[in-house]
């Protein structure tokens, strides 16, 4: 497939438009306590049960930075191949809202903790590099609940003060598919690092999507619209598709695009204007005088750098080099940290005489199918890596056939049973004793003399018949390779 065919373009009569997308991803820092207070961050707690005096902005309360969250942000920066800023500053972003108790959000404006970096995407037409503009730490706001009462709005401050990393990409993305790959890659990196659980249903990962369009080949950027707070990859893709087409239609009609903030209506599948540039808030950013500039030493950064686990790109390279996997196989196995862990455990348990290809096929084939059917994560797999390794080894050393292995695998699902035991208990061991098989085949030839003659006269199709009979007579346990050999000799 040529590269050209994979380009995402919007066509109108004679014109082709390219879509330019930049993302501001809000990733909740994986941390037991909040960015500036000791309150818990557990998801799904009763409303207003994880709120300290600081989170609720009581008079005289002061923020104290959570060092763990700082480490998490720096680790993420390292994972994004980004520059770590030894000095960063917390600013106040001032605006009024019922779920913003302080009347300002503590964020980082001019001096973020992480500077420029990059992320590599594996696209069907090759790799693509997406630039990272910056990553900064900020507090989340609370939640306003408007639909519990016709007259009143309720406010839940459990989220108030939870640490977020805002990861801003450069406008390097060009299609909904790239956006999907980018989000998945970011999530994968953060999950490897343990800095964000990436759970989009729980709101741990959401994004503001900046979309603009321009004539194909143009170097100028078009006027962009920002679609606020989209919380699933599917919705991001739908929103981009709708928004890009809306903008192209405006251009085609000779109208101009207003720079504005829009909302994506997931029910109607359309974006709607939220506020125009003129109505944009003046956030009156200024350095938070309650917090000193955040300064980290080289030692502090290096200590974190030295303890960064192997990340997906490196792991993929190693899987290809060390295990001779294809790029495709390696990409699948490293995309999720738990899958990679599972695979590596299978590899370790297979011991010396291992069949890598077979292991990969079993994981991405049978195991993935089961997980899919049962809607399970690999971390919840009903078959442990250890037992899967044993199963693969049983196939590899000829104890059972691939076909029998599927039966064994089915039985393993119930309580993660040891395949070795299943094979023994059910007597599923492959028959590889030539004498036994010869006797069995002699009997079959004897019982089917006429067919044997027909075969010898040239009806070669009948060979399959004899193989089938032999397998049937052995209860499926005969070593198919030996059966072939013996039949060829005897017929």
């Amino acid at each position: 497939m040529s590269k050209k065919n994979l380009e995402y373009l919007i066509n109108r009569k004679d014109n082709q438009y390219e879509v330019v997308i930049g993302l501001e991803v809000h990733a909740q820092v994986l941390s037991k306590s909040k960015l500036f207070s000791a309150s818990a961050t557990k998801f799904g707690a009763e409303p207003n049960t994880q709120v300290s005096l600081v989170d609720a902005a009581f008079p005289g309360m002061l923020p104290v930075i959570n060092e763990f969250c700082v480490k998490q942000a720096i680790k993420t920066g390292i994972g994004l191949n980004a520059k770590i800023n030894k000095r960063s500053v917390f600013d106040r972003k001032n605006y009024f809202y019922a779920d913003l108790p302080q009347g300002y959000q503590i964020s980082q404006f001019k001096d973020p903790i992480v500077g420029e970096g990059k992320v590599i995407l594996d696209m069907p037409n090759g790799q693509k590099e997406i630039g990272i503009e910056r990553l900064h730490l900020e507090q989340d706001a609370g939640k306003s609940i408007h639909d519990l009462d016709p007259q009143n709005t309720f406010v839940d401050l459990n989220r108030s003060g939870v640490a977020l990393m805002e990861i801003v990409s450069k406008p390097d993305l060009r299609s909904p598919d790239e956006v999907s790959a980018y989000i998945k890659k970011l999530r994968s990196i953060m999950r490897y690092l343990g800095t964000c659980d990436g759970n989009m249903q729980e709101g741990s990962l959401r994004a503001d999507v900046n979309v603009s369009v321009r004539a194909k080949g143009s170097k100028e950027f078009g006027t962009r619209c920002e679609i606020k707070n989209v919380n699933s990859i599917k919705f991001m893709q739908m929103a981009i598709e709708y928004e890009a087409n809306r903008q192209v239609d405006l251009i085609e009609e000779g109208k101009s695009i207003d720079q504005e903030t829009r909302l994506f209506d997931t029910k109607k599948n359309e974006t709607r204007s939220m506020r125009s540039k003129e109505d944009a808030h003046d956030y009156r950013y200024f350095p938070d005088p309650d917090l000193l500039p955040l300064e980290v030493s080289d030692e502090f950064i290096n200590e974190l750098k030295n303890n960064i686990p192997e990340l997906p790109d490196d792991k993929k390279k190693r899987f290809i080099d060390e295990f001779k996997l294809s790029s495709y196989e390696a990409t699948i196995l490293v995309s999720d940290i738990d899958t990679a862990k599972y695979f590596e455990e299978v590899v370790a348990k297979m011991g010396k005489n291992k069949d890598m290809k077979l292991a990969v096929n079993w994981i991405t084939g049978e195991l993935f199918a089961v997980l899919n059917n049962k809607n399970l994560e690999i971390s919840q797999s009903p078959v442990s890596a250890k037992n899967l390794a044993i199963l693969v080894n049983l196939i590899k050393n000829g104890t059972i056939s691939g076909k029998i292995a599927k039966t064994v695998f089915e039985l393993m699902l119930d309580g993660d049973k040891d395949p070795q035991k299943i094979v023994e208990e059910k007597g599923l061991k492959q028959q590889s004793d030539p004498k036994t098989l010869e006797a069995l085949i002699d009997k079959i030839i004897n019982d089917n003399r006429e067919k044997a003659i027909e075969y010898k006269q040239g009806k070669e199709k009948l060979f399959g018949f004899f193989v089938g009979q032999a397998m049937k007579a052995s209860g499926g346990k005969a070593n198919p390779q030996l059966i072939n050999e013996i039949l060829k000799k005897k017929l």
Partner: protein, 485 residues
């Protein structure tokens, strides 16, 4: 023992320790005098019943190892006190009862102090005359209808009027030193980062600092020793070795070099103030110290800088008073309407003025010209001090450009009101310690103060200088208890 309320903190501590006085007797004496002094309007909230109970409990099981064993004390109503209403002098917090205690007051109670009540102050500490308080003017014990200064006006009035043996205030641009000067008392603004800001209703976070106010320097040193602690709950609290300020207090300042900054000789400064300053120079010399003429070239920019930085921070700090979570709320048609009504009715005129100024100077398009520039000037002001401290140990200036003025005299002229802070704000901008001590009287018999400014963390040095000068000055406040019928 008669005239308990005339005793200094140091005397009371000794007398309680020696069992010449019980905490109950002392507490009762100050409560009685406070009750006779309602006309001063020094208190916003009295906590007398509870104070007496605590005093009794102390007497039943006394602990004389503490620094403030059984000493009753009223504090500025900017300090959050657990289960005791804390208003910051504002209608918007009129019904606010904290469930927590400020670190500074906690330190006092841990050393045996007993809360008498909460003292009046300018609304959110914004004012120089205590006239912006929602709870009304405070009278200066020196004379009827005279302002006590601000914003710690209730605190200054209560100490001068002997309603409390000692107190604490907060100082953002002079709010301890100016009222101390106006009432003939001693007030110390410690180095920024010396006293925790945790639990103090914030005005301007980068300038706010709590400090002691007392009848004399030794009492002031003792209270500073108690309230100054490193506090991890305040990110701007500084972990430095703190002196035992009262124990280490010494009047030996021989050979100390005291700077006299020429820029503090401002236009239109009354001759009385100039004369007082000259006398101050003489006192210092009499104590064996040396004076040196110095220059702090950016002094004239301090006031405008302060009136950009402080309102900017305040506009943001006061955003939390929105009627949503606690405090006063006015009914509105919708959220925005509720905000507007709550804040229009809940904040007084001066607070609203400063919120408007602060919002303006932080607005996009004005930020660079005002806030950013002010921050640069602030750095220059700090550099001025760093430079002169290579040559001198401390700086001597007048505390205020005038003595106390009449209630209502400057209400309609905010700029003239702001000028009160002209000698005190540079100290806050530079984060330095400063102390005001009474040094004389003007022709009307109103007290005048001198300010000693120190190096950062050098409270001991300025306390020593103040202590030595105090001895030479031998100041006597002229208070005739005019308000007691």
């Amino acid at each position: 023992m008669s005239d308990i309320t005339k005793q200094s903190l140091t005397e009371l501590v000794i007398n309680i320790k020696n069992k010449k006085l019980s905490s109950t007797e002392v507490t009762k004496a100050f409560i009685e005098r406070s009750e006779k002094s309602k006309e001063l309007n020094a208190y916003i909230t009295e906590d007398f019943t509870s104070a007496l109970e605590k005093a009794k409990r102390f007497d039943q099981k006394p602990n004389f190892d503490l620094k403030l064993s059984g000493i009753p004390m009223a504090v500025k109503d900017l300090f959050c006190t657990k289960d005791v209403k804390t208003t910051a002098g504002s209608k918007i917090l009129n019904n606010f009862v904290p469930t927590y205690e400020s670190t500074v007051t906690e330190n006092i109670w841990k050393e045996g102090g007993i809360l008498l009540g909460k003292l009046n102050c300018d609304e959110f500490a914004m004012g120089s005359s205590n006239e912006t308080s929602f709870f009304g003017n405070v009278q200066n014990p020196i004379d009827k209808d005279l302002v006590p200064g601000g914003s710690s006006g209730g605190s200054a009035s209560a100490v001068a009027g002997q309603l409390t043996p000692i107190t604490i205030g907060t100082d953002t641009g002079g709010s301890i030193r100016q009222p101390a000067s106006f009432t003939g008392t001693v007030g110390l603004k410690p180095t920024y980062g010396s006293c925790s800001r945790y639990g103090i209703v914030a005005f301007a976070s980068s300038l706010d600092q709590a400090g002691p106010m007392a009848q004399n320097v030794k009492d002031c040193a003792l209270l500073q020793e108690v309230i100054s602690t490193y506090d991890p709950k305040d990110s701007t609290s500084i972990d430095f070795t703190r002196n035992q300020y009262s124990k280490e207090l010494s009047n030996n300042i021989k050979g100390k070099k005291i700077g006299i900054p020429k820029e503090y000789r401002v236009d239109g400064m009354p001759k009385e103030i100039e004369d007082l300053w000259q006398k101050g120079v003489q006192y210092v010399k009499d104590c064996g110290a040396e004076t040196i003429d110095i220059s702090l070239p950016h002094t004239s920019y301090a006031l405008p800088t302060y009136y950009i930085v402080a309102p900017a921070e305040a506009s943001s700090n006061l955003a939390r008073y929105d009627g949503v979570k606690y405090g006063f709320r006015s009914k509105g048609e919708n959220l925005i309407d509720m905000y507007e009504k709550t804040r229009s009715e809940g904040f007084g005129a001066e607070v609203q003025r400063r919120i408007m100024i602060g919002t303006y100077v932080l607005s996009s398009g004005y930020y660079d010209a005002y806030y950013l520039k002010a921050q640069k000037v602030r750095k220059l002001i700090k550099n001025d001090f760093d430079e002169v401290y290579k040559k001198v140990d401390a700086i001597l200036t007048p505390s205020t450009p005038s003595s106390a003025f009449k209630i209502g005299e400057k209400t309609n002229d905010p700029v003239s009101m702001y000028l009160n802070d002209i000698f005190t704000v540079p100290v806050n901008l530079a984060g330095l310690p400063g102390i005001s001590i009474p040094a004389g009287h003007d022709s009307k018999g109103y007290p005048l103060g001198l300010q000693i400014i120190g190096k950062a963390f050098d409270e001991q040095n300025i306390l020593n200088i103040a202590y030595a000068m105090e001895e030479k000055i031998n100041f006597k406040n002229k208070i005739n208890d005019w308000w007691i019928k």
